[in-house]
């Protein structure tokens, strides 16, 4: 409930402020968003599994974002930024799907 409120609050603030993404952040923000989404779905699944730990959630959220950004940064430096970004998005997307599948099994038993 409270995380949902926080999500709505962040969306509203973003809509109101309408900030521009700094240039140095532009390649990393999309990947960071995907990584954070992966962490959130992982957290929901952990709740349903009964193994949710707030410390783990915070650390995994932040480390997911940082690692994803670092991979993209490294890919940019190596000249394979776009390919590596695609790879990260694929991996994170597959993880999100598997987490959503686990959540679905818990909630709907199907």
């Amino acid at each position: 409930m409270i995380p949902a409120i926080g999500l709505s609050l962040g969306i509203i603030i973003g809509l109101l402020l309408q900030p521009a993404v700094p240039v140095w952040l532009q390649p990393y923000l999309p990947i960071a968003v995907i990584a954070a989404l992966d962490a959130v779905f992982g957290a929901v699944r952990a709740i349903l599994d009964g193994i949710f730990d707030d410390k783990v959630f915070v650390v995994s959220f932040l480390s997911n974002v940082v690692v994803a950004a670092f991979i993209v940064f490294l890919g940019d430096k190596l000249g394979v930024g776009s390919q590596l970004s695609t790879g990260v998005v694929v991996v994170l997307g597959v993880r999100i799907f598997s987490n959503v599948a686990a959540i679905r099994r818990h909630l709907f038993d199907a």
């Binding site: 969306i11 809509l15 923000l29 999309p30 954070a36 962490a39 193994i51 799907f97 709907f108």
Partner: protein, 292 residues
């Protein structure tokens, strides 16, 4: 993928996977999977019902002011903020993240548009040049026609004229100065280069005629009485000299008992006008219009 069973819990102890294949990564639980040590204690059994799962989710989502909820709210807020920012950024971006073939297509389109617009510019420019030259020609022709109209108007007596010239006054106390004398005077003035002549109030043009009458003379049917005042526009000194030629106008008038007076003026005004009558028989020979 979605039909796969939940991944088995990792072994509580053991070496880490030496080479985590993609398959392993896909199968791995979310990033919140706790330490393997906690797993065995809290891992729910497969017999858990959906009702219990819902209950657990509701209990976790209940608004409790715990550290976990505050952190979750902050992180979720940051996530929402980032999502909105990125969505807006993506909608603002132009050509940056287009693929190569799309860029080539856009480039070809722009190139095609540029060529089409350049052709249009050329066509319009040629139209502008054409219209400008036409208007220049029109203005030139109009100016020439106006000059021609003025010259012909002065010749035909339909326009007043002004300029340097002389005013010749012929006094005739004995009424001996006859029409031929005046005609000779006009001829003499024409020879001397007079461009416009007026006798009394009558303009002298090509078809002006003179006839003697009882008390003076008739100039094209208008009675003019002495003294005869003749105005002529031309080179004033030449005109005045032409009047003084031996055996000329002055001598003839004096022989008839009259006298002449020539005044050179810088500004002689000839304001008598004639209304031209269209010729009854003569027709202009049609000439081909000169083409520019």
């Amino acid at each position: 993928m979605t039909e796969q069973q939940p991944p088995p819990p990792r072994p509580t102890s053991g070496p880490p996977q030496p080479s985590p294949l993609l398959f392993e990564a896909l199968q791995a639980p979310g990033p919140t999977d706790p330490d393997p040590a906690d797993d065995s204690a809290e891992k729910p059994g497969p017999a858990e019902t959906p009702q219990r799962a819902w209950h657990r989710l509701l209990r976790a989502g209940a608004p409790r002011l715990t550290r976990a909820n505050v952190l979750a709210m902050v992180l979720a807020g940051a996530l929402g903020f980032a999502i909105i920012v990125q969505v807006r950024q993506t909608s603002l971006e132009g050509l940056d993240n287009l693929r190569e073939d799309e860029l080539v297509r856009i480039f070809a389109q722009v190139d095609h548009d540029g060529q089409r617009l350049a052709d249009e510019i050329r066509g319009l420019q040629s139209s502008v040049d054409l219209l400008e030259s036409q208007s220049t020609n029109d203005a030139e022709a109009q100016r020439a026609a106006r000059e021609r109209l003025e010259a012909l108007g002065i010749l035909a007596g339909t326009l007043p004229a002004t300029g340097p010239g002389i005013v010749l006054t012929i006094s005739d106390p004995d009424s001996k100065v006859d029409a031929p004398t005046i005609l000779d005077t006009v001829q003499e003035l024409r020879d001397a280069g007079a461009e416009a002549i007026q006798i009394g109030d009558v303009r002298v043009v090509a078809d002006t005629w003179f006839a003697d009458t009882d008390r003076g003379m008739s100039v094209s049917g208008v009675e003019v009485r002495p003294p005869y005042v003749i105005r002529a526009i031309g080179d004033a000194n030449t005109l005045a000299g032409a009047m003084e030629i031996p055996g000329g106008v002055t001598a003839t008038v004096r022989r008839a008992g009259g006298d002449t007076d020539v005044q050179i003026q810088q500004e002689v005004t000839i304001d008598a006008l004639l209304t031209p009558t269209p010729p009854q028989y003569a027709r202009p020979v049609p000439t081909p219009t000169p083409t520019p």
